[in-house]
């Protein structure tokens, strides 16, 4: 199965005189975090199954600058953004898909003002378009009777008003989608955003991911679904903290779709 994973880089494709339809922006978490790498692979498997012509930047990819910008370091953000834009423009990239809502938001909303104009999609939107156009189909049977709750990533939901695409995908799994009390535009943050992922929280009486995990567990789910590698980490940690990791699994929607397709 491992050798089935053909992941061309933009450099390779360009050298071969080809142009991918879409660039898959993997992101730092998707590249380096062991848990998030599994999301990356699941998404790549789906892209291949749907025969999408795609490429990654590979070693030419660099942080979008999102955590620097949220931390207030506009200098570092713009340095990152401008060098990324130089590379993307050199390859004449038009369309980008990413599995990280933070990369998605930054590329989509904050790069245009610095000269980088691309059509940017979150992988849930992209997967939905593949399903809608019939390029990808899902055999939902395996999730029948399972209860799934979806945690809205802030940078996908409130920040960009994408609430339905991930839910539409979950519907295709034939599972029972049960919403948390705080969902969609009222969704509670997992605690990772705004560069919090990279620092210790300030003094308080609870960690945010515990608060959110408790709320997710109230829906008695078999699976907590997310659409963000950072939310995934926070919710996974929360489930472990609650000692529920044997009965409740945290998955990215791409992973669930890949599982459903019994790849």
């Amino acid at each position: 199965m491992s050798d089935a994973l053909q992941v061309p880089t933009l450099a390779e494709m360009t050298a071969a005189g080809q142009k991918p339809e879409v660039v898959f922006w993997v992101g730092c978490a998707g590249s380096f975090d062991d848990r998030a790498k599994k999301i990356t692979k699941a998404f790549v498997q789906l892209l291949q199954k749907a025969e999408v012509s795609f490429a990654v930047l590979g070693t030419e990819e660099s942080c979008t600058g999102d955590p620097a910008k949220r931390a207030g370091n506009e200098f570092l953000f713009q340095m990152q953004a401008m060098s990324n834009i130089q590379i993307l423009d050199a390859y004449e990239v038009k369309k980008i898909v990413t599995t990280c809502p933070h990369c998605f938001n930054t590329l989509k909303n904050e790069y245009p003002e610095l000269g980088g104009n691309y059509e940017v999609m979150h992988h849930t939107e992209f997967l939905k378009s593949l399903l809608d156009s019939g390029k990808l189909s899902v055999a939902g049977g395996q999730f029948k009777g399972k209860k799934i709750t979806f945690h809205d990533p802030c940078y996908l939901g409130r920040a960009n008003k994408v609430y339905e695409a991930p839910r539409d995908l979950l519907q295709k799994l034939d599972a029972e989608l049960s919403e948390m009390k705080r969902c969609k535009s009222n969704g509670l943050c997992c605690g990772a955003g705004g560069a919090q992922m990279f620092k210790e929280p300030e003094k308080g009486n609870k960690d945010i991911n515990i608060e959110r995990t408790e709320e997710a567990l109230e829906t008695q789910p078999d699976i907590i679904a997310t659409g963000c590698p950072f939310c995934n980490t926070m919710m996974t940690d929360g489930v472990k903290h609650k000692e529920k990791e044997t009965s409740v699994k945290v998955y990215d929607i791409a992973e669930l779709l890949a599982q459903a397709g019994s790849l």
Binding site: M1, S2, L5, V7, V26, C28, G30, S31, F32, D33, K41, V44, V56, T59, E61, S62, C63, P67, K69, R70, A71, G72, N73, E74, F75, L76, Q78, M79, Q80, M82, S83, N105, K108, N109, E110, E113, L114, C154, R158, N160, R182, S185, L188, C189, G193, A195, M197, F198, K199, E200, P201, E202, K203, G204, K206, D207, I208, I210, E211, R212
Partner: protein
């Protein structure tokens, strides 16, 4: 001459109230203009739509149905009953009594509607008071609500209750109005209280209620500037000028763009002497005081009515951190006001060795923010506390290098190897090899 004494007193009272109010409007404008200019005049149709829907139509208020419904009642009551103020003012200036009553049934229907609304407002205000003082709704008990903010909130409710009672009393004690028997839908139930009073006393009661009612309204008008209640006016411009871009898009710092472009431009000689003719005062990055914020952010601060919906949905606040988005807005307003009073006293701002950052808002508060935009989404009048938090962070990081050490590590990693963690950029594609 003595016959016109009432009219003269009234006209003077009216003029004094309007002049005093205008002075405060001027002060308000001056204070908001302490902030930096920002262009929010694009998409006028979209902006007008927002204002009509959100401020006039209360669309965001009703997301919380109980508070929303009560608020709509008080709001509609306020707007509609104020039609009556027009009559009161004409009566006061000219010396007539119920000048519009010639309209007959229409007038009676109108007053009847006002009376019903007045009762509804009174009931709503009592429920509001109970929610705030008896029922321990958490968002009314955060630390920033101690002292003046709590008094202010109750004061507004007392004034509103008294104004409604005076309006109904004025109608109940109006013998002719009661005799006409139309429009006194509520006050007819109060009228029996005055049954044995005699026409002179009744007239005195009616006049007293009339005078206190209009004086109360003029007082309330001038109370606004000193109160969170200013939102009844500022909600309109605030929703009009609100951010129309996706919440996830943070502002771009033009000043940084210029410098970064220079740094990345290979044709620039890095050792060249900086051209001397340029404006040498380099721009400050981020905000440490209200002067560094923009005018919309300052307008936001004056518009905030301290309802605390933002704070009640803030993940940091929910989990016991010090950050409260409402406090960010209240602190900003307090700081502007402090500077404003300084200017009133000294003719211009004399530095007071204080800044919004540190003296009002602590770094601990702003570093607790997850930038999740829940506060922005929750605000019924489109206030954006997050933009202030980020501007303060920018100052701490870019002007003072005062980020938490973990974040410095993260930023150093991005600088050195293009990822927030210490992994080599050359290893970025390794994930595909080890399935």
């Amino acid at each position: 001459m003595i016959n016109y004494l009432d009219n003269l007193v009234f006209i003077n009272l009216l003029i004094a109230a309007v002049v005093f109010f205008s002075l405060n409007v001027k002060r308000l404008k001056r204070n908001i203009y302490l902030g930096k200019k920002i262009d929010r005049t694009d998409q006028p149709k979209e902006r007008l739509k927002n204002m009509l829907l959100i401020a006039f139509g209360q669309s965001r208020m009703v997301k919380r149905p109980i508070a929303g419904l009560l608020h709509v009642i008080v709001y509609v009551g306020f707007i509609v009953i104020n039609l009556e103020v027009l009559e009161i003012i004409i009566d006061g200036i000219v010396g007539t009594h119920r000048v519009f009553s010639f309209m007959g049934r229409f007038y009676q229907t109108l007053i009847g509607a006002f009376e019903i609304l007045a009762l509804l407002v009174l009931v709503s205000v009592i429920i509001f008071w109970t929610r705030r003082n008896i029922q321990k709704i958490k968002r009314f008990w955060n630390p920033e609500m101690k002292g003046w903010p709590k008094k202010d909130a109750n004061m507004i409710l007392y004034i509103e209750a008294v104004l409604m009672l005076l309006f109904l009393t004025m109608n109940a004690a109006d013998f002719e109005f009661q005799l006409a028997g139309g429009g006194n839908v509520i006050s007819s139930y109060l009228a029996p209280i005055f049954a044995g009073f005699g026409s002179h006393n009744l007239h005195m009661i009616e006049r007293t209620a009339w005078w206190l009612h209009i004086a109360g309204i003029l007082y309330f008008l001038n109370y606004l500037y000193y109160s969170k209640h200013l939102h009844i006016l500022l909600a309109f411009p605030n929703t009009y000028f609100a951010n129309l871009k996706p919440y996830g898009k943070f502002s771009n710092l033009e000043s940084v763009t210029k410098e970064v472009k220079l740094m990345l431009d290979p044709t620039i000689d890095p050792f060249a002497v900086a051209p001397s003719n340029e404006n040498t005062t380099s721009e400050k990055f981020g905000a440490s005081d209200v002067f560094d914020l923009n005018r919309i952010q300052l307008l936001n601060a004056y518009t905030c009515t301290e309802c605390g919906r933002c704070t009640s949905v803030c993940p940091a606040n929910i989990t016991g951190k010090k950050l409260s988005p409402r406090k960010i807005m209240m602190d900003t307003r307090d700081r502007i006001e402090k500077i404003g009073r300084n200017m009133d006293r000294n003719g211009k701002f004399v530095p007071d060795n204080k800044t919004l950052l540190n003296d009002y808002i602590t770094p601990e508060e702003i570093w607790a923010c997850t930038s999740c935009n829940a506060c922005v989404e929750a605000c019924p009048v489109n206030i954006d506390p997050l933009s202030i938090i980020i501007d303060l962070r920018r100052y701490l990081v870019m002007e003072q290098s005062a980020a938490p050490s973990d974040l410095n590590t993260m930023m150093a990693n991005i600088e050195n190897n293009g990822a927030p963690w210490p992994f080599n950029q050359q290893d970025r594609l390794n994930w595909k090899d080890n399935l």
